[in-house]
């Protein structure tokens, strides 16, 4: 891979995905924002360009196969290569508190569609291009996947499942020179704000155990860690999960 990367980030119209895009833009990379929200996505692409990179937006629902395939095809047709991919899209139900024994099983589908089926779809679409570039895939997971959550059991399980898939995929893709890792961020985002709104005690629980005593910033705290995993500096790192959480999670 060259020093200047071409990367695709799903779910990057806001929150952590936006911060990752901004961080990659600041490195001068070409960044494709793949998201459902066109207005917000185009705005993030412009922010990438403002920071010295080249920003593009492509409309994409990460749970729809045709969308994912079209987004990747558009990217490759325009930029001629694909060096790195970030799966950041997550269900809009992620911050919604649930009671384990009462969750209608049908409610699992949206989580599954975006985060698990979406990972399967994305992996299949980008694999030939990452094999050509000896590239890198990064999956945004969560500390919830390590330790479980009493009121976010579906979200926690889905995030854990992604780590399990990544562990296997690192072994399947390693011989092709493709690396795949996870990042578990803790960052101040609109989604986290909604979670705090829905569970007022959550903020105290989250910050009370954080040795750095603050929420991470998506662009300056989380973005550089993901950018590192996408870069050649991480060329010997695969199958791992980096905790970008200020030391919050007790399980590492």
């Amino acid at each position: 891979m060259s020093d200047s990367k071409v990367v695709l980030i799903t779910g990057a119209s806001g929150g952590v995905g936006r911060g990752i895009a901004q961080s990659c833009g600041a490195a001068g990379w070409t960044v494709w924002i793949a998201a459902r929200r066109a207005l917000e996505g185009a705005r993030v692409a412009a922010e990438v360009t403002e920071r010295g990179g080249t920003g593009h937006f492509v409309e994409c629902d990460a749970a729809v196969a045709a969308d994912v395939e079209r987004a990747v095809a558009t990217l490759v047709a325009t930029s001629a290569r694909l060096d790195g991919v970030v799966l950041n899209a997550t269900s809009g139900l992620s911050p919604k508190p649930v009671v384990f024994t009462d969750v209608p099983i049908a409610d699992l589908q949206d989580h599954v569609a975006v985060s698990l089926r979406g990972l399967h779809l994305l992996a299949g679409a980008v694999y030939p291009h990452l094999r050509t570039s000896a590239g890198s895939l990064v999956v945004l997971t969560s500390e919830a996947g390590f330790e479980g959550k009493a009121k976010l059991s579906v979200y926690a399980a889905i995030k854990a499942a992604q780590r399990g898939i990544v562990r296997s995929l690192a072994r399947e893709w390693g011989p092709d020179g493709i690396r795949i890792n996870c990042v578990a961020p803790l960052a101040g985002t609109p989604a986290m704000d909604r979670a705090f709104d829905m569970d007022p005690e959550m903020a105290a629980r989250v910050l009370g155990r954080n040795p750095l005593g603050r929420m991470g910033d998506p662009e300056t705290d989380v973005g550089p860690i993901v950018r590192f995993l996408l870069s050649d500096d991480a060329r010997y790192l695969t199958g791992n999960t980096l905790m970008a959480d200020g030391g919050s999670c007790p399980i590492t």
């Binding site: 099983i105 049908a106 699992l108 089926r117 390590f146 479980g148 959550k149 059991s153 399980a157 854990a160």
Partner: protein, 216 residues
């Protein structure tokens, strides 16, 4: 015991002197894409089944094992959408329903043990959906340990690669020659340990009964 109807699990229920509640079969997607989404219309069947199990008398110990009839290894990029649903989406949904039923049935101060099929990390190539499902169940166990802990219920997991292990594991060899472990021996022993009186302070733990193939 809440489990799939498999000979190994029926035998385990007998060895543990447990009543067996059978987990419904998962739906089969007809084709990829829309077929996978359509299969989710069967989700309400799991709701009804869970409600039926949950309505029974409380019991002190519940063991849960949701295992598919059989396994086929394939790399993720060679796995169709329908096959991905069969290997991960529906087993996950079934696990969620079964563990919810277990929590509803488990008496205060009781114990729940999830018996999970999990490929050992060294041997996990070709088993991405199964690795994902196993990790999901581990997180569900920890979520339940948190939510049910205040009423004294312990929730733990035992993992086994017994039906997923390769005939020739890559180097280094597993520490114990009994790898990958037998359901009626090493695995049953680990389950018995976690429901026994010697583990009253253990909850949210995952014991890999894989003869030393996994360290964590």
């Amino acid at each position: 015991m809440i489990a799939s109807r498999l000979d190994e699990l029926v035998a385990l229920a007998g060895a543990l002197n447990a009543d067996l509640a059978v987990v419904p079969d998962c739906p089969v997607a007809v084709g990829d894409g829309d077929g996978v989404v359509a299969a989710w219309s069967h989700a309400a069947d799991f709701d009804r089944w869970r409600a039926g199990i949950a309505g029974g008398e409380p019991v002190p110990v519940v063991i849960v094992a949701v295992w598919p009839d059989s396994h086929r290894s394939a790399t993720l990029v060679c796995t169709s959408a329908a096959e991905f649903a069969r290997r991960l989406e529906w087993p996950f949904a079934a696990w969620y329903a079964a563990l919810g039923a277990a929590a509803a049935r488990c008496a205060d101060g009781g114990a729940i043990v999830a018996l999970v099929e999990r490929p050992s990390p060294l041997d996990s190539a070709g088993w991405a959906p199964e690795s994902g499902c196993a990790d999901a169940v581990e997180a569900l166990v920890r979520s339940l340990a948190r939510s049910e802990g205040p009423r004294g219920v312990r929730v733990n997991a035992v993992t086994t690669p017994a039906r997923l292990a390769p005939d020739r594991p890559i180097a280094p060899p597993p520490p114990l020659s009994t790898f990958p472990g037998r359901i009626d021996a090493e695995v049953a022993d680990a389950v018995a340990m976690l429901i026994g009186s010697g583990t009253t302070g253990v909850t949210g733990a995952v014991v890999h009964a894989d003869c030393g193939r996994s360290w964590r």
